[in-house]
């Protein structure tokens, strides 16, 4: 028992540490609730001990136990459903929704993090079992670094240029530079939009980026993050100030307009730069042969 104890301890600690590091309470305000964090930490601990016990079970060897551990790992699929369901439920009462694409992306990330935790504790445990315990101090940070690398997806700033744009009206049509956004009927609303509205153009760097930005789910994610940080003047009976993202259909760039509580254009640009590229919206045209041909 004594010899396995050190393996279990090292592997579980490494895995749990990894989960804590991956569970950042970031600027997108998720997960904000202490209970949500506790749930994920508890599940992370279970995942870490699963990985640790697997090493011991193989070393013993007790293959029946290994089979049961594989079955237990299936449980982590539930995490995706759990996140999807709870975020989906919250969506109904949000003024500016996240959009299903964004929710799906978040849910997948939460699931994947647990597998990374299992993997971290598995590798750390194996290293301790095969060599000796000081090697855990090398294996664990290395695995955590690999996990962070895995989990750091692209952001909008990587795939597109973001620049300030001017809002104007031609008659009653609201325009951001040359992109027609919507029709605004009341003169006082038009004045307010011109006075307080902020516009930006998101110009894709290549064809992949253009297809990514085409996706309404990706645009909704951009709007959601901008509003989550800078606020919005939309209310239940004030849908006129609803932020919008529209495409310049010929050039393929996106024009975003928002009336925020904090009208700081430079921060709006920074926020949009940090919006994650949603997995399911990601364009892959340039990876296809004809896509590359068509691009030039």
């Amino acid at each position: 028992m004594q010899e396995y104890l050190i393996v279990l301890l090292a592997a579980t600690t490494a895995g749990f540490l990894n989960r804590i590091i991956l569970l950042r309470r970031d600027y997108r305000q998720y997960p904000t609730y202490p209970h949500g964090q506790l749930t994920h930490l508890a599940l992370g601990f279970i995942a870490a001990s699963l990985g640790a016990v697997a090493v011991v079970a193989i070393a013993k060897p007790d293959y029946v136990a290994v089979t049961f551990l594989v079955l237990a790992a299936q449980e982590f699929r539930e995490i995706r459903n759990m996140e999807r369901e709870s975020l989906g439920k919250l969506e109904e009462n949000k003024l500016i929704s996240r959009g299903t694409d964004y929710i799906e992306g978040i849910a997948r990330v939460f699931e994947a993090r647990n597998y990374l935790v299992i993997f971290t504790s598995l590798v750390t445990g194996a290293v301790v079992q095969i060599f000796s315990w000081p090697y855990a101090f090398i294996a664990a940070p290395l695995m955590i670094m690999v996990s962070l690398q895995f989990m750091s997806g692209k952001v909008i700033g990587d795939i597109a240029e973001i620049q300030e744009a001017k809002l104007s009206f031609s008659g009653t049509m609201l325009k951001i530079e040359d992109v027609v956004v919507s029709n605004v009927g009341l003169p006082e609303v038009r004045e307010k939009i011109l006075r307080e509205g902020m516009g930006v153009l998101i110009k894709p760097k290549d064809d992949d980026a253009r297809i990514t930005l085409d996706s309404p789910g990706q645009r909704q994610a951009i709007i959601h993050d901008a509003v989550a940080i800078l606020g919005t003047k939309v209310d239940v009976n004030e849908p006129e100030y609803m932020p919008m993202a529209r495409k310049q259909i010929d050039q393929g760039y996106i024009a975003v307009y928002i009336i925020a509580n904090e009208p700081d254009i430079e921060f709006l640009i920074e926020v949009i730069k940090r919006v994650p590229v949603i997995e399911s919206s990601k364009g892959t045209a340039l990876k296809a042969y004809y896509g590359r041909k068509a691009a030039d």
Binding site: G171, V184, L186, P187, E188, N237, E240, M242
Partner: protein
């Protein structure tokens, strides 16, 4: 779950009733532009819709 009316004309405010045909939604007739804007504003608040201007003296209040 709350059920909302989306993408539909909820009301029309017009200066000239001859510009409107057909039914399906209430039509309010305003005497002048000022009154039209006021009715439009009230209706948008009451119905939770957005006021659109067809630029021919007809306002639509739409749910989006």
């Amino acid at each position: 779950m709350e059920i909302k009316i989306n993408d539909m004309i909820l009301a029309i405010v017009t200066l000239d009733e001859t510009l409107i045909r057909g039914g399906g939604c209430p039509v309010f007739i305003a005497a002048n532009e000022e009154q039209q804007q006021k009715i439009g504003l009230y209706l948008s608040k009451i119905l939770g819709g957005v006021v659109h201007d067809l630029e021919n003296g007809v306002f639509l209040i739409c749910g989006h």
